[in-house]
Subunit: 383 residues, 2 copies
């Protein structure tokens, strides 16, 4: 498998009161076409990830909506897998190209979240959890608080260790003009912010965000024939599942879907965790970044937080994590996140990441999960 990432575009992430779901999709798709140097008539297939259009605004059948917005009749496929919808859309697009059916695909992830009240959007997001978790009036901060408590119980980490993840990601976001929160915070600010679900505080949580992101992928052969950008390759793409309910899991300090997907993606790409120069992981809550780094085998179980303390995962460190600002500070427009992670990795590998550039990276990994890890998608990108 060798698929190239040619064009990319990310809208501003934030509270975009004046933009609808349709606006965001159009902006990301057209921005990506322009960046790719192609027109819609050259696109052979479109994949769109979106979670909440149906529940929030009764906007379903996005395959047809996108056809109308972009004026194309090629196959458009909408996939949903909660917060992993973007990564899943990309994985399916890669499979479609590898099937030989098509040479290229436009992949879009988009989410409009801020038109709902805080209560309604929290309820809508619980569609990614199990019926028993909804009945118990759990929220996602509540579910991840359970994971954090289990981690604290098993290892020596503290609330301050979690806070440091948020501090790092806010620091990174100060260099990302597309980020929702472009200001630094301190660990003390995190620790003194409002408690949401003990031990998680407001500043341990990723925000509610509007935004979209799109990439154009193709076979290297097709890109060469059309004289288009062709420098970053997706050489691993894997997906795994786990139960919807935390109560069905054997461990609360490891997300086995991430482990399974990572092992498969690394094998496809022929890499080991040591080869990875940077990662974008799914830090919907600070504890999630720590679990991700361990489940991706970047650090042994129970040790990732100590390395954040040592600043290894900072820009300039040994293994930068979430240089985009992560979900925490770049923002988390659910289905756009999986695509945004790949965009950040691509910009880094192309050395186009501006003043958040990692020094000459060759291998980047993205990890995108749904719910509490019921879905995990891992991609390996190589320059």
């Amino acid at each position: 498998m060798k698929i190239s990432i040619s064009g990319l575009y990310q809208t501003q992430f934030g509270e975009l009161w004046d933009q609808s779901l349709e606006d965001l999709i159009s902006k990301a798709a057209n921005g990506c076409l322009k960046d790719s140097g192609i027109t819609i008539s050259q696109v052979q297939s479109v994949f769109i990830g979106n979670m909440l259009g149906g529940v929030n605004e009764n906007k379903q059948h996005l395959s047809s909506l996108v056809s109308q917005l972009l004026k194309t009749q090629v196959p458009v496929t909408r996939v949903e897998s909660a917060c992993a919808s973007g990564g899943m859309a990309l994985r399916l697009a890669i499979q479609a190209i590898n099937s030989g059916d098509i040479d290229n695909a436009l992949v879009v992830g988009a989410e409009k979240m801020t038109d709902l009240s805080a209560c309604d959007i929290s309820k809508a997001l619980m569609g990614a959890a199990s019926a028993e978790e909804r009945t118990a009036d759990l929220t996602f901060p509540g579910l991840y608080a359970l994971l954090a408590r289990a981690y604290f119980h098993q290892f020596q980490a503290s609330e301050r260790d979690l806070a440091k993840v948020a501090v790092k990601n806010h620091f990174h976001a100060t260099f990302n003009p597309k980020a929702q929160f472009r200001f630094p915070i301190t660990a003390d600010q995190v620790l003194s912010s409002t408690k949401v679900a003990d031990p998680l505080k407001l500043l341990d949580c990723s925000p509610i965000t509007d935004g979209a992101a799109a990439i154009f992928i193709a076979t290297p052969k097709w890109l060469k024939a059309h004289h288009l950008k062709n420098s970053v390759y997706i050489s691993g793409s894997a997906q795994a599942q786990d139960s919807l309910s935390l109560s069905h899991r054997t461990s609360l300090t490891s997300l086995s879907a991430t482990k399974l997907a990572a092992h498969k993606a690394y094998a496809q790409a022929g890499i080991t965790p040591k080869d990875i120069d940077l990662v974008e992981v799914h830090d919907c809550f600070t504890i999630a970044e720590i679990l991700a780094l361990e489940d991706l085998d970047i650090y042994p179980k129970g040790e990732a937080y100590a390395h954040i303390n040592k600043k290894e995962s900072y820009l300039g460190g040994k293994k930068p994590v979430n240089t985009s600002g992560g979900l925490k500070a770049c923002g988390h427009p659910v289905a756009a996140t999986g695509i945004k992670q790949v965009i950040e990795a691509t910009l880094q590998l192309r050395q186009q990441a501006g003043n958040r550039q990692v020094k000459a990276p060759k291998v980047a990994v993205t990890q995108n999960i749904g719910g509490t890890g019921g879905t995990a998608i891992v991609h390996v990108l190589i320059r």
Copy 2:
């Protein structure tokens, strides 16, 4: 492309008050595994089509729900494309196999519809239409009534011609134990039934239905190696889109997405419309069956209704249409429909369709659409 259909299972279609979405998915999936003669541990990937779980019950993230229900961690992908969700799930599963990633896939379509009031389910279904159509308080009967009016205007067809589609499909359903309506009706009964959206009457409309359907597909090589059923092949699988709004279309008497998908699927399979022995088409409303037969090039534009009059599309006729009873009488659990159509075609090709068996068919075509034809998926099956 040559993919075999090995196992299949359809639940009863109807008002299944005692069965949840989870029950329907489990029943169809496990029934299909049993029919295939395999266990879940042999399944390498699962695709699930579902439209309404999110809007109706806030059940999203079905990839993880299915993982929990079936106790598997292989990739599970949920797709949605309104009433074409089932066909789209199948098409993606075929692409995934053709990519070389996997040898087999379990494909499930499921929908739970009857727990909502008539008003709420109509509103939920309008998620498949455009915002302007929703704002105009249109319903799907209303939208298809516009198509019927345009057809009447352009050709010589009448309300009685539409009625005959319903009469035929109810007749076929009397032979299908899985059908929702297993009783015959007359054209006069259709014509005198309650007007829903002029010229469509209650008996021109497919019903609200609970149900699920599943098939197990694989490469012939994998099936041979495992000594499994291997007699019906999918040799064409294509998809096309059209605008969400009817107001953006150039024609109201032809669904161009069906035409595009059909041409591509026929070319893949190396067939012409003359080779087709039977078809299962998307008769969500009686007018839709007429449009489908013309857009599939089985009859010239403006002529399909006359052939129904001549009973050609009846069991025993030259080209039987919707031997399952169609959406009209077998029922229309939205995302299950695309899979049910393929199951009916497979049973016919295997000559296992009981007392609705078509004589020794070799080529069958299924056509599954979303909304008013914003998505169309066409499959060609060959024995």
